[in-house]
Symmetry: C2
Subunit: 435 residues, 2 copies
């Protein structure tokens, strides 16, 4: 694209943003009154409210309930254009973003491309153990989950049926904990009423975690609370163990083999592949090291926001957490720097980023959640209500979907799962049938 010529001729500096997640969108929106010409590139046409993705996987929500087209979000912002495309590389020397089918010159670049699932070097696990990073991932997990019950209903062989009804969640972070609890909820909701041959307590959910306790990023007492609640729900938790192999039939944990036809991966993250093309220093997860101004050292006009960055809080010296809040705050911070520099009011030095911890929470089954807000740690039903309130309010603001949210809440209470559809071409594998 020849934005370069155009931008110069009209005196607009071009800010290219890679990624339309929380970080990228907040950069774009914060620059709405600036003189910059903004191009936001994403390989998806929608912004995704990732914290609720596991509810798409467990058939409580439909994709459109937690996603909105980036074009729609930015349509009133005259200085922003949106391009659908996958970035393949960035040439820092020539200030050029290369993506499939074209290239864009930039004056400022903001990398907000997030992280993808990591299988710790074992990409061959992916086929047997889908992750939970995109809507397609969530629909794949939904498909496998619902299909497992359908197949188990008619499976005559006891052992095969047990494997079909065993769900292994690899990873004990917030995603793993939320997914495991939700799977147990699905089983309780639909098995007793809709199935004739399988009972609800036959669905076996196991969390396999390499760490010493659940939700390591949250305070220890809440991790302990999560464990208690999950175990009471019937979820088995295996701590301090590493998955050494995943096959069609199950998961190998050292010498132990768990026969399970359903394995879901919520264990690790890594940077996008193209980030390597930057030729700058990355951490072990492939995140880009940034300075206190969120720029790449030596490249003042290239920022990284959200969890694509390895950033250190300037005040506390702690890493900035890879949460929606981290992305929003770093996005707004970077936009403010760019705005000031475009206005020519950058007399003083760039500020250093400090993270305001607004708390974190995770849901553990219906009617229960853990939350750490400031110094207060709480959980149970009150935690759950807090969780619902925060998330529903956020979603309502995000797409005006008040009615849909009311419907969601209503379904939640009645234990209805309206999105229980197996899409894609289901191949049913039942070895033997029973009446």
């Amino acid at each position: 694209m020849d934005t370069d010529t155009e931008a110069r001729s009209t005196q607009h500096e071009v800010v290219v943003i890679i990624g339309g997640g929380f970080g990228g969108l907040h950069v774009a929106k914060s620059l709405r009154r600036s003189s910059a010409s903004i191009v936001l590139v994403d390989r998806r046409n929608y912004h995704l409210f990732q914290p609720l993705l596991y509810q798409v996987a467990t058939a409580e929500l439909e994709p459109a309930n937690i996603a909105a087209p980036i074009r729609e979000i930015l349509h009133k912002q005259g200085n922003a254009t949106v391009a659908l495309g996958e970035v393949t590389s960035v040439d820092l020397e020539n200030k050029l973003v290369q993506f499939d089918g074209g290239k864009i010159d930039y004056d400022y670049l903001v990398i907000a491309s997030g992280l993808r699932q990591s299988y710790f070097g074992h990409d061959e696990f992916r086929a047997h153990a889908p992750g939970l990073k995109s809507i397609d991932d969530a629909l794949e997990i939904r498909r496998r989950l619902l299909l497992a019950f359908e197949e188990a209903e008619w499976e005559a062989d006891e052992q095969a049926r047990r494997a079909k009804l065993t769900f292994v969640v690899v990873g004990g972070g917030p995603t793993g904990v939320e997914l495991a609890g939700a799977i147990k909820d699905v089983a309780s909701d639909i098995l007793p009423t809709e199935f004739r041959n399988i009972r609800k307590d036959t669905a076996h959910v196991i969390i396999v975690d390499a760490g010493p306790r659940l939700v390591l990023a949250m305070p220890e007492d809440l991790g302990e609370r999560a464990r208690r609640v999950l175990e009471k729900m019937g979820v088995e938790i295996r701590q301090n163990v590493c998955v050494t192999d995943v096959t069609d039939g199950g998961v190998q944990i050292g010498d132990d083999f768990i026969a399970a036809e359903n394995v879901f991966w919520a264990a690790g993250v890594q940077g996008q592949e193209w980030v390597k093309s930057l030729g700058v220093e990355l951490d072990g997860c492939g995140r880009v090291f940034v300075g206190p101004d969120m720029a790449i050292p030596g490249h003042k006009n290239v920022f990284v926001v959200g969890d694509a960055a390895h950033a250190i809080d300037a005040k506390t010296g702690k890493p900035v957490p890879g949460l929606a809040q981290g992305a929003i705050q770093t996005g707004n911070f970077v936009a403010a720097i760019i705005r000031r520099e475009l206005d020519g009011t950058n007399g003083r030095q760039r500020p250093a980023f400090h993270y305001h911890d607004k708390g974190s929470m995770a849901i553990i089954g219906r009617g229960n959640a853990i939350a750490a807000i400031g110094k207060r740690h709480f959980g149970g039903f009150f935690g759950w209500l807090t969780w619902c309130f925060v998330h529903v309010m956020f979603l309502v603001g995000f797409g005006n979907k008040l009615l849909v949210m009311a419907d969601w809440f209503w379904n939640l209470i009645r234990r209805k799962r309206s999105a229980r559809l197996i899409t894609g071409d289901p191949e049913v594998h039942v070895k033997r049938l029973r009446a």
Copy 2:
């Protein structure tokens, strides 16, 4: 499955129903108080409200808004079990349904498997021209439709851009008419506000129809009315022409080639492949000829309902139309026969099926529809309101989704399309970029 032994021992006769559409579900529900043991087999786990499928394709609705799990629909009916599976053949001699992975014996069989898309012997067209019979079809059309706008936005080559913005709908029946109008609506809704480089009037929609006029199944004046409305909306209509080839780049119509990157197929239907295994007489579309009692001649205990049947109205001598109403009425009719025979109150002969015409309607763009109810033909805004009322009421009854429907109606009025997500792995094909 050894239902045979079980059924005999408990004196329950087994009614196997193939298909959970309108026909199959009505058979199952009408037999809820009978002594029969019912097994409903479908290769999908959901019942689909097909009349609104095109709205999933055009991003107005999400799949779960128009589909509900068959298990949920039947969960209170103790004498019904549901099996997910694809029927591969039926052995009429041995009263046996074979499906992937197993088999079921039956006393009564009801075939309610509907019709699938037909490419009139050119199955190679399918890859270039998806049909609209399933949720996966609808999501594929949605993906292509939205991707076309995304690609056109950045396509610098005038001719290539025109091909990206040309949408050919093959078939001028209700589905073709509704889809074409809705595509034009999508373009009017989102192009002017959300795109910077393409104008709304650049989206070119063409209906290619082999017949002499649109919606042949409806009265002639309504077909004429549909044509007028669509042409006023800017839809081009080509009547009496046959598609001879479909490629990546467009559609061949005799000597004429229309360059179009988006071709959607709404032209023909045919019976399911496995129906041939029955070894009975089929019509040209692969529908099963049935007697006035909807049974296959010579096989009193095998019925065909819905549009899988080639049935003649006993009173009027006209074919029973392939509409939801036809399926519902034949389903209830057949269930009544089975119920009576199971009760032993079948002294008199089986009745002959007569179709009660409750009318038909089709939507033509937002705020306009055509309807034939009894001798009354009408259209325009009043037709549209009638259409909305009938369909919304139906859906509300069908899943208690009053809030979702209210949201849908609200979005419709504000021209918001909440389901505008490109899922699956979008590969963007843009030859050149423009600013």
